[in-house]
Amino acid sequence: MEKRDVVVEIDIPFAAARRDYLAEDLIYGWDTKRMEAYAHALCDEIGANADSFKDCRVAALRFDGGTASNAGAHLASIMRSLRNSFTVCDDVPISMRAAISNISGATMPFFKRAGVSRFDFEMMSLDSTCFTKLNKVDNLKDLPIICDYFLHAYANNSLGLVLAFGYTFGTEKDATASFRRSIVSVTRSHASHLILERAFAEDSTLDGVAANQLRQARELLEEAGFIEYLPLHFSRPGFEDAFLLSNSQGSDRIAFGLGAETRIEGVISKNTLDLATYLQHSTDFERITTSVAPVCR
C-alpha cells in the first residue's frame, strides 16, 4: 500500500513549576504516579488508533505540549507503542521540548531508546545575569556537562535551545547586554536549532525592547550562519525541524495526548484538556474528542 507521510505530535503538557514563559493550562508539579498513568494512557491511545491510520507513515515526530521531557523514561514505552502501531520512517527525526533538569543517567538511556534526535532545552537565557530570573533553579552550569557527557552534542547536532527575548531585568541596557551574551553563546555552541519566544508577551510596554533584542539576535545568528526557516525558529542549514516545517506547511498531523490536535484530510479534532477524562478514556476517541471542525481555508 502506498503510504502517505504524516507528522506526529505527542503532547505531554507537564512542567515542573510555573514560569512566566510557560502556558497557563499546563499541569504543574512533579508526580511520579500521575506521569506513569499519563504515559500508559498515551500508549493506550496510540494503540487504539493504529487501525485508523494504516495508510500513514510517520515522517517526523515531536514531543511537545509542555516540557515533554518530564515524561522521562516513559518516552521509550510511548515510542515503542507508536512503532508497534504505526509505520515509522527509518531514522525518523524526533525533536522534543525539554528541560536540562530532566537529563540524567536515569532518563538519557530511555531518551536514546526512544530515538530523540534533538532536545530543545528551555534555557530561556544562556547568560547568568538573566537566566536565574527566567528560571527556577540555578542550573546553568549543568548545560555544558549535559552537552558533552550526555548528549555528545558535538557529534550529533542534538542540541537545541529555547531562549526568551523581550525582557528587562534591572536596566534595559543590562538586560539587552545579557541577551546579547546569551545569543553570542548560542553561536559559539554546538546548538543546531534555536527557538526564540517572547518572554512577557502580554506586556506591550516591552514591545520596543522585544523588537530591539530580536533585531540583534537576527543579526548575530545570521552572521553565525543560522537561517530563520520559520518565524522565530532558527537552525544551521540542513537542521530545520522536520516536524515544525511540515506542520507549518499544512501537512497532515496526527496528535496524541491531553489537548492534542489532529489535523488530517481537512479536519481538525481536538482532545480533551481534562486529565481525568483522558486517563480513564484515552482509548475511546469519542469520549476524549471535544471538538471537530474543518480546517479553515
Binding site: G105, K136, I145, F150, E265, T277, E286, V292
Partner: protein, 645 residues
Amino acid sequence: MGTKSNWSRRDFLKGAAVGTVGVAALGSLNACAPSTTEGSAAAAGGNASTAEAGTYDVMKQFSTFGRGEKPEAVAFTSPEEYIIAKGDGVLSAGGGCEELGITPADFMLDTPAWLGEAPQITDIADSEDFDVLVIGAGNAGTTTALRCQESGLKVALAEMQTYDEYDEYACDMACYNSKLFLDKGTPEVDTMEVFNEYMRMSRGHAHQKIVRDYATRSGEMLDWMIGYIPEDLTANYAKTSNYKGNANFNGEACGQKSFIGMTQWRDEENNINMWPYVIRTVHASFEELGGTMKWGYQGIVLVKEGEAVTGAIFQDVEGVYHQVNAKAVVVTAGDFGGNPDMRLDLSDQMRNLAWSFGSDRTDTGAIGGMGRDGSGIKMCMWAGATMEGGPRAGQAAGINGMPGFAFGGTWPCFGSDGKRFFNESLVKHGSNGYLDMLPADQLLLNVTDANWEENLSFQGYGHETMDRSADYMVAEVRENMDAYITGADGFPVRAFSRFGKEYMNVYAAETLEELAEIVGYTGEAVSNFVAEVEHYNQLCEAGYDSDWGCDSQNLFPIKTPPFFFSFAKTGGNPSGGLCQHAAICTDGRYQVLTGDKAPIAGLYAAGNTCGQRYGIQYATPTAGNSCASALTSGYCAAESVIADI
C-alpha cells in the same frame, strides 16, 4: 451518557470533513465533556487550609500531587496515613506536630514513599545460574565482574542499556601512584596522606576502610584494568595530569591538600570523552574470559531464600521478566540522583537549601540531579539493607560557585560592590558551601592578567583549581587565549575536563575601567573595584592576604594587561548537580548491611550504590576521584566475593 458509535475515529473524521457528521453526532460528548473550569489541565491553586487543629489539610499544603488533578487518588484520612505515604515530607516541609496531633516519633519512618513495597513478579520467562551476578555495567560493576571472572568464577554482568545504546558519563579518574604516572616521572604520592585528606574532608563521616581502599589501591586497580584494555587505546587516549604544569604548587592551599593522579580518556584531535568507548573493551575482555553480558536487563527486584540473597529478577526491553540466580549478587546500579522522589527525600542539603531560599521544599523541580534512578538502592533496601543516615553527600558540581575560567583555577573574586569578600582558595568545587547561600543577583567576577598561565602553575589538582590532564589541552587553551578579543562579546576558550568540547566565554580588557564597564559596574562600584585591585596587588606584594586569608601561593597580582575575566550572577537556588553519594551501608568488605548492621548473606554493593564513601559532601583533592573510587570499590568488592564463595 450516549452510547458508543460504530464507526472508527478515521471514518468519523472523514465524515466531519465533508460535513456529514459533527461532534454532536457522537452523542455523548457534549453531555459528558466537563466545563473548562473544572478538572482542566491547569493545576488547581490549592491554598493552605486555615482550619483549626485536627482538621489541618496537609494535602493542600504539602502534597505535590492531588491538587484536584489525580482523580484516582484517595485523600488521606489521618495525619498518620499521610506521614506513612510521604515519608518525612511533613517534617521536611515544616509541618507542625501540634496541628497534626502527632509526636516526633511518628516521623521515624521505615518505608519512605519512594520505596514502597517490593514488586512481586510471577511471570518469569526463564532462569539462569551463575556464581556471581553483578547488576550494572558502569564503572564499579565492570571491575567487579572482570575480577570475579578472572578468578575463575562464572559471572553474569547485567546492564539495563542494550549493547547499542550503552553509554556512561564518566571521564576523569583519579588513581594514585598508577604506573601511568610513575613511568612518566611523576613523584610518588603518599597515599596515607591521601586517605587522611579524604577523611578530613568527610569530617570523619566516611567509612575509613572504603576510603582507604580507594586512596591506597586505586593505582593498583588502574594498572590491573589497563591490562585488559588494548594498548593502542591506552596510548592514544589515556591522558594523565602533567605534574610539571603545577610545578610551583606546594601541595596544599589553606591546609587543604591536593594530589596528582587524574587520568582522562580523551581523543586528542576531537577532545571527545573516550571512556564510554574504552570501557566497552573491558566488557569485551570480560566476555573473552568467559563472562556473560546481559544487555538490556533492567534489575527489578532481588531474590531471597530465607535471609540470603540468591539472585535477581530482570525485565528486558520487550517487557519480559528473567531470573538470574547466583551465590553472590553485587549491586552496582548507581545512585539516586536521577530520581526526583528520592532526591526530594534524601538530598537533605539541597532540599533545605531550597527551603532557606524560600522555595517550596516539596517541589522536586527545585532540586536537580543527573545521576541514576536509585533502583539499585531500592532493590537492596527491599532485601533488608539500610542506607547511611547522613549527612548525605552529593556532587553539587560547582553550581552557584565561582564562575571561574574555562581552564579552571582559583582566582581573585570581586563582588557586586567591586570588592573581594571571601577566601577564594577555600572554595571547593563540587561541594555545597558558602557561595550557595549567597543571595540572588550577587555578582561574582574572577580576574587575572597576562600572567594567567604562570599563575596556574601554583594551582593544585582538584576540580576547582587547574585540570592539566594533557599538554594538548593546555596548548589549545593557550592558543585561544593568545587570540583574545576585547569587548563585551568576549571570546571562546576551550574548556577543560568536564566540559569537554564545549567552549566557555572569557572576556578581555586592556584597562580595568574597560573591564568594569563590560561587567556592568557603575557608580561607586567602579572606583571600589579599581581601588580594591590596587589594594589586592599590595597584598600580593606582601605575600599575605590580611583581608581574607587566601593562600599566599594563590595571590596573583592583577597588573599586566590584557586583563582576563569571567563573571556571573548568583541565582539564589543552586541545582543539585551530578551524582548523589548517599547510598547503602556496607561493612569494610562491601557486604550490604541491615539496619542492625549485620551483613546480608550473598549481597554486596559497590560504586555509587555503596554509601559512606564521602560522608559530608563530594570532596575533590583530585579531580575525577568519584569515578576512580567507584572503579576501586568494585575491584576490592570482588575480593570479598571471591573469598566468600
